[in-house]
């Protein structure tokens, strides 16, 4: 099943209902009802991994603990993604409301927004809007408060357990899982950690009911999603689109007429070449994305694209596990050696095997997903890497 490309307006919609009114209305209902609505809506995490949000909240609610936390992951660092910045800038109250609803549902009294250091210019306005929101919560006797934390320029801290480590004053090195955050997250307490966009959708689903959301998208990919469109396009920017569209329609709408490939899901995502546009669906049944859509036209060298990505991973790898630390370096050195003719083209196949090792043995999503861009670019543009 697939849908047609359709623009929607849920995230930034201004229907004059203040977020705090949505909150007051929502918390009159039981926590179990809210969870059922979220599960029914089919909402999956919008950061990229796609875990069902309702289940995440349910698992955390079921944990027996006096202290629980709600964390908004605003450490948007995936190359080509900039939609969370726009959401934080334009509709922050909808994020706060989602966090407060979550606090009510799981029984948490504290929420944190972990904002990437590169977005520090947003801190001042966010803090003043937060002060106002926290004040309103207090006035209405809602026992929940939200605090701001800043990152310091580490991509890997967008990985949830690395983010907890960072908030605890440590190096941002991902933890082993399990235990999952729903059991032991920040300060080893049960924690819901959601992406910025996911939290806004929870607010909007509580406001409009699950039906309207569910009516959008496909069986596996319900609802809509905010896409960050960049690269060789005349209309780069933020677009909220229904999930489940075929990539060719996306390219027709956003491409410059000469699109050679689209990188879906950022540096850690998949590169789709022109010949596969027709059979690629953007959604959890096809290629999922945290929102990043980078368009390349025929003037671009895919060697340069892959080289950029590998440099990125080599620099952003936290260094604690060997498969990722050594793997990223060797992949980068490897394609350079093939390009210079110091290694034979068949060395690329050895490197592909290395990504399989990384996928199995790396500790976190960073190392596990380096194979996505690597293999999709090598498989589809091998000649550009060699010559």
């Amino acid at each position: 099943m697939e849908t047609k490309l359709k623009k929607v307006d849920i995230i930034f919609e201004d229907d004059k209902t203040s977020p705090i009114t949505i909150l007051e209305k929502t918390i009159k209902r039981s926590a179990d009802e809210i969870i059922l609505d979220l599960i029914d809506s089919g909402l999956k995490g919008r950061g990229g991994a796609g875990f069902p949000t309702g289940l995440k909240w349910k698992f955390t609610r079921n944990e027996d603990s006096d202290v629980k936390y709600v964390i908004c992951n605003a450490d948007e660092g995936e190359p080509g993604t900039f939609k969370d910045r726009e959401i934080l800038d334009r509709v922050p109250e909808k994020i706060f409301t989602g966090m407060a609803i979550c606090g009510y549902v799981i029984g948490a009294k504290e929420g944190y927004i972990y904002l990437r250091g590169e977005y520090n210019f947003l801190l001042k306005t966010l803090q003043s809007k937060l002060n106002k929101f926290n004040g309103e919560l207090k006035q209405k006797n809602i026992d929940f408060a939200i605090y701001l934390r800043s990152g310091s320029g580490a991509y890997v801290c967008g990985e949830e357990s690395a983010l907890f480590e960072s908030m605890e004053g440590k190096r941002g090195e991902p933890r082993n899982k399990p235990p999952y955050p729903t059991v032991a997250g920040y300060n080893s307490k049960p924690t819901v950690i959601n992406n910025v966009e996911t939290l806004v959708y929870t607010t909007m689903i509580c406001h409009m009911g699950p039906e309207q959301f569910k009516a959008l998208g496909t069986n596996d990919s319900r609802g809509s999603k905010v896409f960050s469109v960049s690269g060789d396009t005349p209309i780069a920017g933020i677009y909220e689109l229904e999930l489940g569209m075929p990539l060719n329609q996306f390219v027709d709408e956003f491409g410059d007429g000469d699109t050679k490939a689209v990188q879906v899901g950022g540096a850690s995502g998949h590169c789709v070449p022109r010949k596969k546009f027709n059979d690629t669906i953007i959604g959890f049944e096809g290629i999922p994305t945290g929102g990043s859509m980078m368009i390349f036209n025929s003037t671009r060298s895919m060697y340069n694209v892959l080289h950029d990505y590998l440099e990125f991973f080599t620099e952003e790898c936290c260094g604690q596990c060997t498969p990722c630390r050594v793997g990223c370096q060797q992949l980068l050195k490897g394609i350079e050696a093939v390009k210079r003719g110091e290694r034979s083209p068949s060395y690329l196949d050895d490197l592909k095997n290395l990504t399989t090792t990384m996928k199995i043995a790396a500790k976190c999503g960073l190392g596990q997903s380096v194979g996505n861009p690597f293999n999709s670019i090598i498989d589809n543009f091998r000649e550009e890497i060699i010559y």
């Binding site: 660092g77 080509g80 320029g153 580490a154 980078m294 990125f312």
Partner: protein
């Protein structure tokens, strides 16, 4: 203000627990542009941590520099879309203007030039951060003008 006093002030504001370490280190960088050995030792003492723990955390993060930096830190985005939109021209223009290479600091300690991974403005590249301020849709001339404006302060 001496570094020791600054640390004391930040500890008072953020608390003595390990969870306060990041905000404290970020506060020092904001004032002194990098984390000196003195600053890290003083944080370790205040929070009752080993100096190695403080250095371990500090050295992990790109924005927590442990080597001296200029008053204004310029970070030009070098990730793919900004690369495609001409970040090399921007970097070259700034290098010519400041007479330094990427990673270096000017003699008057006014500027440090660095590159950064994706700053989240891919639709408006090339882009750079000067301290916490963002400048999208750059041209070489525009970048030079912006850098100059920081010299006047």
């Amino acid at each position: 203000m001496t570094t020791e006093l600054l640390v004391k002030e930040l500890v008072e504001k953020n608390g003595k627990s390990r969870n306060s370490l990041m905000p404290i280190l970020q506060g020092i960088v904001q004032k002194e542009h990098f984390l000196s050995e003195e600053a890290m030792l003083s944080v370790a003492k205040e929070l009752d941590l080993s100096a190695a723990d403080v250095y371990g955390t500090a050295s992990f993060y790109t924005f927590l520099d442990t080597v001296p930096r200029g008053k204004n830190i310029v970070r030009v985005c070098k990730t793919i879309t900004c690369h495609m939109k001409g970040k090399d021209d921007i970097i070259n223009a700034i290098m010519n203007q400041l007479k330094i290479k990427v990673g270096e600091t000017t003699h008057d300690k006014k500027y440090t030039l660095l590159t950064a991974n994706c700053l989240g403005w891919c639709h408006k590249g090339p882009v750079m951060l000067v301290n916490d301020d963002i400048y999208p849709e750059l041209t070489p001339a525009k970048a030079v003008e912006i850098i100059q404006s920081y010299g006047k302060e």
